[in-house]
Subunit: 327 residues, 2 copies
């Protein structure tokens, strides 16, 4: 009670109604926009809202409507990947559509944690968006709450993963490379496989090994590089892996790009400042995120017509980590 006195309670529609001299339902109708108000009432309501600084309680609204405007973004380790940027893009899109994005992360190394995290999702969320698109997550969600899931993948309509990898392949061929190793992301990630598939499709002419890194990190790339067998170029599933690979090559006494060329993917903000600056593919994460959220939205509000989003266009950025094959 002390508390209630100290914190002046926020005005409600009843307050607005009293000031505007209408019923609370009229205010509600004004807010929702269904069924028009007579100009006179409308104006009074507007003025009352202004005067009181009224703002609707999302909590009450969610309760009354039996649905919330919260979407959960599920992901494992947030720090390793371009995930953050994706999440950020999703968040922007969600907010623009009036949703709140609740990011939940779980420790992927603990097999139970995912299940626990899933059960701890509030049942009243509008949807769940799996950002980290692993098999593990997919299975767990399929099992526990198949109704809600929408996943992010790069086979999403509008993605041009294959074109991007084609550009990489062409670039390397132009430089005279012919033994090209691909270091993929972790095997159980869809997007890792998608990128690998795209590369294989694009690089039919380029012989070479295909490795899977244990993660998306520089450390994983460094580890994977142990298995490298004298390639002329290495294409990596993301920039961090490329960084790890570059480091491993340097420790073997191989110079990038003089001895081996290295290509990344994602164009993280730091890539341009690596030594050497990394040739990579720029992704528009914000747009990717918007696409991902759009898919959720299409499912949540199927009847609302929407402008299609522009297609994603990832494109190659050539920097210092690629050079002509040594004679």
């Amino acid at each position: 009670m002390v508390r209630k006195d100290r914190v002046p309670r926020a005005p409600t529609i009843y307050d607005v109604a009293r000031v505007a001299e209408v019923s609370h339902q009229t205010v509600s109708r004004y807010l929702s926009g269904v069924s028009p108000l007579r100009p006179a009432s409308r104006e009074r309501v507007e003025r009352a809202i202004q005067e009181l600084g009224y703002r609707p309680s999302l909590t009450a609204r969610a309760l009354a409507r039996g649905e919330s405007r919260t979407v959960v973004a599920l992901t494992g380790e947030l720090l390793e990947v371009g995930t953050v940027q994706l999440v950020e893009g999703v968040r922007r899109a969600a907010r623009a559509a009036g949703y709140v994005l609740d990011v939940m992360t779980y420790d992927a190394s603990d097999p139970d944690e995912l299940a626990r995290t899933l059960t701890s999702i509030r049942p009243d969320v509008a949807g769940v968006l799996a950002i980290a698109d692993t098999d593990q997550l997919r299975e767990a969600v399929d099992r526990q709450s198949p109704d809600l899931l929408v996943t992010v993948t790069e086979d999403a309509p509008g993605a041009n993963t294959v074109e991007a990898h084609l550009a990489i392949a062409r670039h390397l061929i132009d430089l005279g490379h012919d033994r090209v190793t691909y270091v993929a992301g972790p095997r159980d990630w869809r997007s890792a496989r998608t990128r690998l598939r795209a590369f294989e499709q694009a690089a039919t002419g380029l012989a070479g090994d295909r490795l899977f890194a244990a993660g998306w990190s520089a450390a994983a790339g460094y580890e994977a590089a142990r298995l490298l067998t004298d390639p002329t170029a290495v294409v990596c599933a993301n920039d961090q892996i490329a960084l790890g690979v570059t480091r491993a090559l340097a420790e073997r006494g191989l110079d990038v790009p003089a001895d081996v060329s290295v290509v990344g993917y994602d164009d993280m903000p730091e890539s341009a400042y690596f030594s050497p600056p990394l040739t990579t593919v720029r992704q528009d994460f914000a747009l990717h995120g918007a696409h991902a959220f759009r898919r959720v939205l299409d499912r949540l509000e199927p009847d609302v017509p929407r402008e299609p989003l522009p297609a994603v266009e990832d494109h190659l950025i050539v920097r210092g980590s690629t050079a002509a094959r040594r004679a």
Copy 2:
């Protein structure tokens, strides 16, 4: 209606009450834990909850209690800084305390956006945590809703920023350096100033310039490095800046560490794989985040006794970017 049929409504306390043959209030009491139940009722309630798979509606609870368990984390660009990791630490702590963390980001380059973002904060949130601790944010929040703010700073109790900078200074002195430039983070960030102050306090013996970078990014570090006047070592406010500085030095034909030593701060996961691997200070972001959230919690629930958190201990990690001063 179609919808309501399709989606079986989640069980409520009334359902539980019916099955357990008690009143809904008894169920509520069981859930809240105040006033004990008779073993017989308690057991029936427990069984009913089990059977129905009941889970409380946070929405209804928030409405009834007149407060939500949502805390907003406010930050500018999420991608540039160690911010993500901090946010992640805060999120973990929040979830552990039963709170949901809603991250809101704003575009710091647009002066109006912050104000707009602030007004778009739902009035029923429990608290606001300013992650990006800039003057701009501080002022805006002070003006608009001074009641809620708790900020993250590194002068937080338990931080050992000064000790960490002392370790850096000692390390450089041991290596024989005497012209040490400090490249600080952006001037309007508290933590940038805190780190600078800590460095100055620690490095009384080391003459050298103090520069401010325009951001926390590699690009900002690269830009700031234009102003470098032949130091023997450069200490940077974070690893990204250090990366940019290293790059700029390389382009001037200076080798790190042979000609100039470079030190970073934060130990981002990639730093160990830079060329050369970066000497830096490891921060326990999770713990930093936990401290930050604890401060919010202490304000929200002042009466709950809590174990103090362990003190943060950032410590120096020496890698390849520092070496003895060239003879």
